[in-house]
Amino acid sequence: MNPSREITLRVNGNTVRAVCETRTTLLDFLRDHAGLTGTHAGCEHGVCGACTVQLDGASVRACLLFAAQVGEGQITTVEGLAPPGAMTDLQQAFRRHHALQCGFCTPGMLMTADALLRETPHPDEAAVRAALSGNLCRCTGYQPIIEAVLDCAEARGARS
């Protein structure tokens, strides 16, 4: 019998409990055991960024963590960005700027950008490009994604 255990995680404010093999990555736990398929498997070796989630507010690659390592940490996935039926200003900016085509990299992009704007509310273009450099996109050429993040930051600044 392969080593298995009951894992309890706090995801998007909810408690998720499942018995799974100890070798289960956080990515597979979220998708297969928590039913949260918005987090995508793009490379599973820590390069493409499609599986980016937030651990206690910091962006991390869910394929480079075992679920069993998360412990008390708070996980946020794309499903947890806004209440059901709603979108954050960042998500809306993505739509306005056509910052997604196939949509596969989008959740990872959003989780990275969301963490960036929390930490650096007014990034310049270079800072946005650097922050997103660990998230591959094959459709958009990145430009509209960067514009969406900058636009969202500017709008937040104007509001506050």
Partner: protein, 755 residues
């Protein structure tokens, strides 16, 4: 999907507004599900009791299989099935060609699983189904394959010698060989005052969509359902049915959300048989999701070509003729679209120029590498690079201005239609129908501010500046027909069903725009369904930038017929939505391809000490006939350009001399990231609507990529003009560029001082 806007609908029916949606930058109806994590990609399809497949792949480039022992794998708890060619037996048939069946290619088809010989690293040898992908991979480790390794063919040159054969029974590595010619190329070269011949090389790379391949198959005893279909679901349904000797109606291909295609996703691959076969054996659903390392060694590669190209010119820059030989590396087998790129490459070598005399020998060879298929702009990316680079080298030799020489040789608007001859053996004569190539060139130069740009090696803060130009023309809108079906519902909404597929382009939005204009209804009144075989009688799918051109035309005409029916109802005194569903089915037949054209201009700075290149500005201009949605069309152009810019510097599938893949992970296969991608200015012209379809549209999905290598190589060459680098080989990687500079510096005839 948005809910139908009932309130607005009555007015829309009354108002009969037309032409207000097409051409507007309307936000996509698809976006919300992707932005909230509610997209349903192939791996998101799951069933109770589903088995998870993994494929054992050859670790050798060329070997006989002596023996496979699955005993230990079959005994592992959780394993449901382990099968090899011996188990699949007579169901293991070769996968036929879908496009470009060039003479001879059908001798090299790929079986669905290797029986007694493997011919590339990554070829399927066994399939395992288990309770989880983890356990399936545990089982892979336990399968023992006894290989007898033989010599491998790792290059075009090695293949052409026929010293080692990839397919011994065929007796040659030359899969196809044929000449194409228009005019009299020998006469054009005879007595030419200037000729230059170069040997070019385009590197092997691939589309690498963010979502790898994958499918879920479920056999219920009478119906095979396959989720994850895309690109050409109807063609693949026919194939799969034939593998199982089933009627087509016993197979349903169901499209999911698809994480990018770029040509390589959605063709019929070995796994497209193996996974349904496993489901049939087990009587339970089976899922297979390709992992990224598999993807890099098993999904189609593309682009690897060598080309000897010779130009004849008058001393004023007038092109007299062009001739050459193209040699493509097809990999170990000819797959469904293996002949497309090489045949299109030869066709588009002369490009948008007045080259009446052109000849080319076309050769495609097999090697012990992953088989190739089409990738966005197949043959065009390569052809435009070879020709445009050769033009700049000739201009350098003759002291001519590259822009002036292009102006001089571009086919003029008044010369249209311009016959291009019969340059593809599987097609008839063709002609560029409409276009103002000069306008495209001038507007691209103007957009980048060409006159003010530092170039020709101008030194600013340690960087040498250069500008490069590349012009192109390309066909789109293939596939002879497309079906559309529209149903007007009693609640005032419409369902649109199309035979095209979607890998992220936004067809749900654009088809609603097109139909909305015809029917005077808002976007929210439409639900668009595409890709799955249940929707329409037949669909030709999505390739060759055909979805809007052909699929959109079908939607437009079907919507127009629907309009007539609704008008008739209105004339009879009926107000508002129909009392019962009304259905319109329509098949639109194409009247030949459309020809998009344009110009790319790149401004780069090069650090001659480190060989680093910065792309400072990039303009990708294309006349697409008609822009249906500028937001989406610009997205295609910018995304295509960045994919091509990345490919020109980074993407490369490298093999060693034993045909072992060296770039089998994303640490080795490098693509453009947000820090490497330049800001691209996409300019879309609507000066020359296509006369061949009711929308006036031309393909818009590939013009962003097709001239990138040409423009960039010319820009880098211009920046490093002092060293007169040939730059006849891609990629323009740091290492390759540094070597070119090193060689130029060590040669006697170059400037002795670095900047």
């Amino acid at each position: 999907m948005n809910a139908p806007d009932r309130a607005g609908l009555g007015n829309a029916f009354e108002a009969a507004a037309t032409g207000t949606l097409s051409g507007a930058p309307i936000e996509r109806v698809e976006d919300e599900r992707f932005l909230t994590g509610a997209g349903r990609f192939t791996d998101d399809v799951r069933f109770e009791g589903m088995g998870h497949a993994a494929i054992l792949r050859s670790t050798h480039a060329h070997a006989r299989i002596r023996r496979i022992d699955c005993t230990a794998a079959r005994a592992l708890p959780g394993v449901m099935l382990v099968a090899t060619a011996a188990d699949i037996a007579q169901a293991n048939k070769p996968i036929p060609i879908r496009l470009a069946p060039l003479p001879g290619l059908d001798r090299f088809l790929q079986p669905t699983i290797a029986a007694d010989e493997v011919r590339y690293v990554g070829e399927p040898v066994a399939i395992v189904v288990a309770s989880s992908r983890y356990v399936a991979e545990d089982a892979l480790d336990l399968i023992e394959v006894d290989y007898d390794e033989g010599p491998a063919v790792a290059s075009i040159t090695q293949s052409a010698s026929n010293a080692t054969l990839v397919h011994a029974a065929v007796g040659t590595n030359v899969a196809t060989q044929y000449p194409v010619e228009r005019g009299d190329v020998d006469r054009a070269f005879a007595g030419a005052p200037y000729t230059r011949r170069e040997r070019f090389r385009c590197h092997r790379h691939t589309g690498a969509p963010m979502e790898t391949r994958g499918l879920v198959a479920e056999w219920n005893g009478s119906l095979m359902r396959v989720w994850g279909a895309t690109k050409v679901p109807f063609f693949n349904r026919g194939l799969l049915a034939s593998f199982f000797d089933l009627p087509e109606t016993a197979v349903d291909m169901i499209e999911t959300d698809i994480g990018g295609g770029f040509g390589i996703r959605g063709e019929f691959y070995p796994e497209d048989f193996l996974v349904p076969w496993a489901s049939m054996q087990l009587g339970r659903p089976v899922k297979w999701i390709e992992d990224r390392r598999e993807h890099l060694m098993a999904a189609n590669h593309a682009r690897e070509t060598e080309c000897e190209l010779e130009i004849a010119m008058n001393l004023d820059g007038t092109i007299r003729g062009l001739r050459g030989r193209v040699m493509a590396d097809l990999g170990a087998y000819v797959r469904t679209g293996g002949g497309v790129a090489v045949s299109r490459l030869a066709q588009y070598l002369p490009g948008p120029y007045r080259i009446s005399d052109f000849g080319c020998e076309v050769m495609a060879l097999v090697t012990n590498k992953t088989p190739v298929g089409t990738m966005r702009g197949p043959g065009r990316y390569e052809a435009n690079y070879f020709r445009e680079r050769l033009l700049d080298l000739a201009c350098g030799d003759l002291g001519l201005d590259p822009v002036a020489v292009r102006e001089m040789n571009l086919i003029a608007r008044h010369e249209m239609p311009w016959p291009i001859g019969r340059l593809v053996p599987t097609e008839g004569e063709g002609a560029y129908d409409v276009g103002d190539f000069h306008s495209g060139l001038h507007k691209a130069l103007s957009a980048i501010g060409y006159d003010r740009l530092p170039r020709d090696g101008a030194l600013i803060d340690g960087w040498l500046h250069g500008v490069g130009v590349a012009c192109f023309v390309e066909s789109s809108g293939g596939g002879k027909s497309e079906n559309a079906r529209i149903v007007a519902r009693t609640d005032g909404s419409f369902d649109i069903y199309s035979g095209v597929s979607t890998m992220g382009q936004g067809h749900e939005t654009v088809f609603a725009q097109i139909a909305g204009d015809e029917l005077g209804a808002p976007i929210s009144a439409f639900r668009v369904h595409h890709g799955s075989t249940a929707h329409v009688d037949y669909g030709w799918g999505t390739f060759h930038s055909r979805a809007i051109v052909v699929g959109g035309s079908a939607v437009k005409l079907a919507a127009a017929q629907m309009r007539e029916q609704l008008d008739a109802l209105a004339a009879a005194g009926h107000r508002g939505p129909p009392a019962e569903d009304i259905e319109v089915k329509l098949r639109y037949d194409t009247k030949g391809p459309t020809y998009s054209y344009g110009t790319h201009v790149a401004h780069v700075a090069v650090d001659p000490e480190t060989a680093r290149v910065k792309v400072l500005a990039y303009v990708a201009l294309e006349d697409v006939g008609r822009v249906m949605n500028p937001l989406l069309a610009h997205g295609q152009a910018v995304g295509g350009a960045v994919q091509g810019i990345g490919a020109t510097f980074l993407d490369e599938l490298r093999y060693d001399e034993n045909a072992q893949l060296l770039s089998g992970s994303y640490a080795d296969y490098l693509m453009a990231t947000s820090t490497e991608a330049p800001a691209v200015q996409a300019v879309l012209l609507e000066e020359s609507p296509s006369p061949s379809n009711p929308l006036g549209a031309k393909g818009a999905g590939e013009g962003g990529i097709v001239a990138t290598a040409g423009a960039l190589a010319n820009a880098v060459g211009n920046a490093l003009a002092a060293w007169r680098l040939p730059l006849t080989s891609l990629p323009l990687s740091l290492d390759n560029l540094a070597r070119a500079l090193r060689e130029a510096r060590s040669a006697a005839a170059v400037p002795g001082q670095d900047h």
